[in-house]
Symmetry: C2
Subunit: 443 residues, 2 copies
C-alpha cells in the first residue's frame, strides 16, 4: 500500500519514540500558519487527519516560494520530534520544502473568521481547524453510538429514503416530481415503521441515515435534511429500558470524548469553550420526570411563559428550557398525553397517556424521542380510526400485530443536535458538511 | 440495563461453558420450526440476533397452546447447553413455554419459499433465516469496509442527498416537486464532488449513504436507490494506489467472512451454495489490465459479441463478463478513453486516456469505479468547455484547483452488488431491505 503516511500516524510514532525523531521520506499538507522571524521561518502545516500542526522550522533562509496560508506543500526527508511543550516539529532546509499547489485569493485569511461568514463559503469552510475538527468529532460520536449498539447485538439496517408511506405524521414531506411509480413518492421523515418490520426478523435493529422535513422553519435547531440514528428493539415493554439504553449510548460517547483531546484551542465567538464541564455534567445522573409532574412544576414555577400551558398541550421550547435549567442537566420527560404524540405509541393503563419519552438537553431542547409501540392489533386499529387515519393505508403495519407480535419500542437520536451540543456549537448548521435550510442549498 | 439477553449472547456463554448449562431467567424469540414426536415436541426458536436456532425440547406433553411457525414465545427458566452436534438446546416443561404473540395467517409456511414470492411480502420476508441473515451479513461487510478506512485515518463524512448540482453526469436525477429553493433540487447520484471539497480540509474522507438514479432499467443489477461507499484521498497521483486500497478493503472483508460461520445451511434455488470457494478465489491476486489491452484481448478472442467493440467505445456487460471468465476472477480495467468517462478524471500524458479504473467481478460486473481527479485548473476548465458544459455552474469546483490544489483521487463501491456477490445471491434487490426498482416501491 503506497498511501502516504498521515500526520496523525507520524505524531503517534513520535509520541512513543521517547523524544527521538521519526524519519520518513516525505510528509504533505496545507499551510495553516506562517511566522517569519529574523533568521528562521515557522510554517505550520496540517493534513486534515489530526487537530495538531506540524511546525516546520525553516533554517538558512526562505524556500524558493513565499509560504502562505492555504498552499499545499510537501516536506522532504523530515525528522519529526515531539518537543517538551508537546508540539511536533521538524527542522527543514529551504530546498526540502516544496510547493504543490499555490493560492490565488485564499478566502480564509485568519482563524477568527466568523461562522456566519464561513457558512457562505461552503467550498472552503472545511479548511478551518474549527470546522474540519467538528467533522472528525462527529465521526467519533457516530462510531461510538454504533459501537454500543453493535455490542448489544443490534443489526445496522438500511431502510429506504424513497417511500410511499405518507402517514407517519412527523412533518411535511418532500415529494418527487417524477412519476416512476403508480403512487406518490416522498422522502422519508423517519424510518421507524420500516424498522419495526425489520425488528420482527432481526430482533434488534438500528439505522443511521438522513431524514427530510419540508418545513420552512429557520432556526438554529432545524434542517430540511438531517441525520437520525433510529433504534428499534423487540421484547421490551417499558420506557425505562429504552431510557437506560439512550443514557448508556450517550454516556459512552461522552466517556470516550473525555479520554481524547478533540477540542481546538480556538472557539469562535458565541461557541462554548467550557464543553469539558458540560461533558462532566452529562456523566452524572439524568433526571426522569413524567409529563404530568413537569406540567405541575411549570405551573407552580411562577414564571409568566409566553405560551400558556395546560395539561394536554405539548411542551413548548421555553418550557423545555425551564425544565433543563430547573434540573441543571438532561431531563427525560415521559408519558405525554396521547394526543400530543403519534398514533403508534403504546397506550398506558390510564387510557390518557402513552408510554413514551423525550430527552431534553439544556440550550438545544429535544435530542431524542422514543416510545414503546402499540403491539395489540385491536387497540392500534381503534386508535387509527379515532384519528380519522385510513386503516387501509396502514394495513401492512397493522398486520405485523397479527403474526407473532411482540412488545417492542425504540427511539430516534438527532445527530446534528447531539454533535452540536457536545462540541459547544449552538448552530446545528455547522454539524453537517453542507446544510439545507430555508433559502440555502449550496453545492 | 434491563435489555433482555439475546440468543447470540447466550450461545456465546454456552459455547465457552464446557458443556455445562447456562441458566437464565427467560429467553424470547420466534418459532422457526416445530417437530412433534410421540412423547416430545421440538420447538426451534430464533430471536434474530444469530443464525442458529435454540432447540426447545418440550417434555411431558404439549404446552397450553399449539406451537406454530411465526409465533413469538418466551421460555421461562431455560438451561441452555451446546450439544456435541454443536446445536443449542434446552429442556422445557410445558408450562414454561409461554405464547407472546399468536399467528393468524402466517404467510411464510416453509423455508423453501422462493425469492420472487418473498419479494412480494416486504413486511414479512425478513422473518426468513436466509434474508434476515443477509441483512446481518451486509452489516458485517459495511463495518469491515469502514474499519479499514478508519485505521488509515479517513474521516466518515455526510455529504447531502439534496443537491443543486446537476452536472455530475452519472445518470438521470430525481427532482423535488417543492420549490423551497430558488433553483432546481435533485437527489444526489454521487457524492464525489462534495467529497473533494471535504478532502481539501480533512485529507482523507469517505461516506456511506444512498444515491439515486431515475433510470428505468429493470435488471437484477440496478436499483433506483442504492448505497455507495465513496472514498476520496489527497496526495495520491496514481491509479495503483487507489487499486491497492480497494483490494485491501475487500480482501479484509473476505478474510473476516472466512473466520465466521455466516452462511445459512439452506440456499434458495438459483443462489450460490459455493460461496466459500468464491471467497477463497478473492483472496488470491487480482488482475490489472489497461482498457487498450482489454480491447485487444476481446477482439482477438474470436467471440462474436452482440455489441461491436472498437477502441474508444465503452465496454459492454458481455465484454466485462468475458474478461472475468478469461482471467477467472476479479479484473481491474484501467485507463479508459477520455470520452468514455466523466469530465473530472485526470488526463494521462497520451492525451487520449484518463487515469481511472473499473473493478469487474464475475457474474455481477462493475463493483467499483474510481479515478485520479484532474487537479490542474486550466486542464479541467478546457475539458469542461470541450464537453460544452457550463463552467459557471462548476466554478466552485474549478476554484478548488486555484487554492492549494493537490493530486487526489477516489472511488465508489456499490454496496448492494458487493454484498450480493459475497453472499452468492444473484439479485441485488435482496441485499437492501426494501428495494426501489421500476414499478416497485413497497412500504
Amino acid at each position: 500500500m503506497k498511501l502516504p503516511v498521515t500526520l496523525k500516524r507520524v505524531f503517534g510514532l513520535a509520541r512513543s519514540n521517547g523524544g527521538n525523531p521519526v524519519k520518513i521520506d516525505q510528509i504533505s499538507g496545507w499551510v495553516k500558519n506562517v511566522r517569519p522571524l529574523k533568521t528562521i521561518t515557522f510554517v505550520e502545516i496540517q493534513d486534515g487527519t489530526t487537530l495538531q500542526d506540524l511546525n516546520v522550522v525553516l533554517k538558512q533562509g526562505p524556500p524558493s516560494f513565499r509560504p502562505a496560508l492555504g498552499q499545499s506543500v510537501t516536506v522532504l526527508d523530515p525528522e519529526i520530534v515531539q518537543r517538551k511543550n508537546q508540539q511536533f516539529e521538524t527542522i527543514c532546509l529551504p530546498h526540502n520544502l516544496r510547493l504543490v499547489g499555490a493560492t490565488t485569493e485564499y478566502p480564509i485569511q485568519n482563524k477568527q473568521t466568523a461562522l456566519p461568514t464561513l457558512r457562505k463559503l461552503p467550498e472552503f469552510k472545511h479548511r478551518t481547524t474549527y470546522l474540519s475538527n467538528l467533522m472528525r468529532f462527529r465521526h467519533k460520536i457516530e462510531s461510538r453510538l454504533s459501537k454500543t449498539l453493535d455490542e448489544l447485538d443490534f443489526t445496522l439496517v438500511k431502510p429506504p429514503i424513497l417511500t410511499s408511506i405518507d402517514c407517519e405524521g412527523a412533518g411535511e414531506m418532500f415529494k418527487l416530481k417524477q412519476d416512476h411509480w403508480d403512487k406518490a413518492v416522498n422522502l422519508t421523515v423517519s424510518s421507524q415503521l420500516q424498522l419495526e418490520v425489520l425488528m420482527m426478523g432481526l430482533g434488534r435493529v438500528y439505522c443511521l441515515q438522513p431524514c427530510f422535513r419540508a418545513e420552512k422553519s429557520d432556526t438554529n435547531r432545524h434542517l430540511c435534511e438531517f441525520w437520525m440514528m433510529e433504534v428499534e428493539a423487540s421484547f421490551i415493554g417499558k420506557n425505562e429500558t429504552l431510557m437506560d439504553l439512550v443514557e448508556l449510548m450517550i454516556k459512552n460517547v461522552v466517556s470516550s470524548l473525555c479520554e481524547t483531546e478533540d477540542l481546538p484551542k480556538y472557539f469562535p465567538v458565541g461557541c462554548n469553550n467550557g464543553v469539558t464541564e458540560r461533558w462532566a455534567k452529562l456523566l452524572q445522573d439524568w433526571n426522569r420526570i413524567t409529563y404530568t409532574k413537569a406540567v405541575d412544576l411549570l405551573l407552580s414555577s411562577g414564571v409568566n411563559f409566553e405560551h400558556e400551558l395546560t395539561w394536554g398541550k405539548d411542551l413548548n421550547s421555553e418550557h423545555e428550557r425551564w425544565l433543563c435549567d430547573h434540573f441543571g442537566g438532561p431531563v427525560f420527560v415521559t408519558n405525554y398525553p396521547r394526543d400530543c404524540k403519534a398514533f403508534y405509541m403504546k397506550l398506558r393503563q390510564d387510557n390518557a397517556t402513552v408510554e413514551c419519552f423525550d430527552l431534553l438537553f439544556p440550550d438545544i431542547g429535544e435530542i431524542v424521542g422514543g416510545s414503546i409501540r402499540e403491539d395489540n392489533y385491536d387497540t392500534l386499529k381503534a386508535e387509527i380510526q379515532r384519528r380519522n387515519m385510513d386503516p387501509n393505508e396502514l394495513e401492512w403495519y397493522l398486520n405485523l400485530r397479527k403474526e407473532g407480535t411482540v412488545p417492542h419500542g425504540g427511539f430516534g437520536i438527532g445527530i446534528e443536535r447531539l454533535v452540536s451540543y457536545l462540541y459547544g456549537n449552538p448552530n446545528i448548521r455547522d454539524s453537517i458538511p453542507f446544510h439545507r435550510t430555508t433559502g440555502q442549498i449550496d453545492l
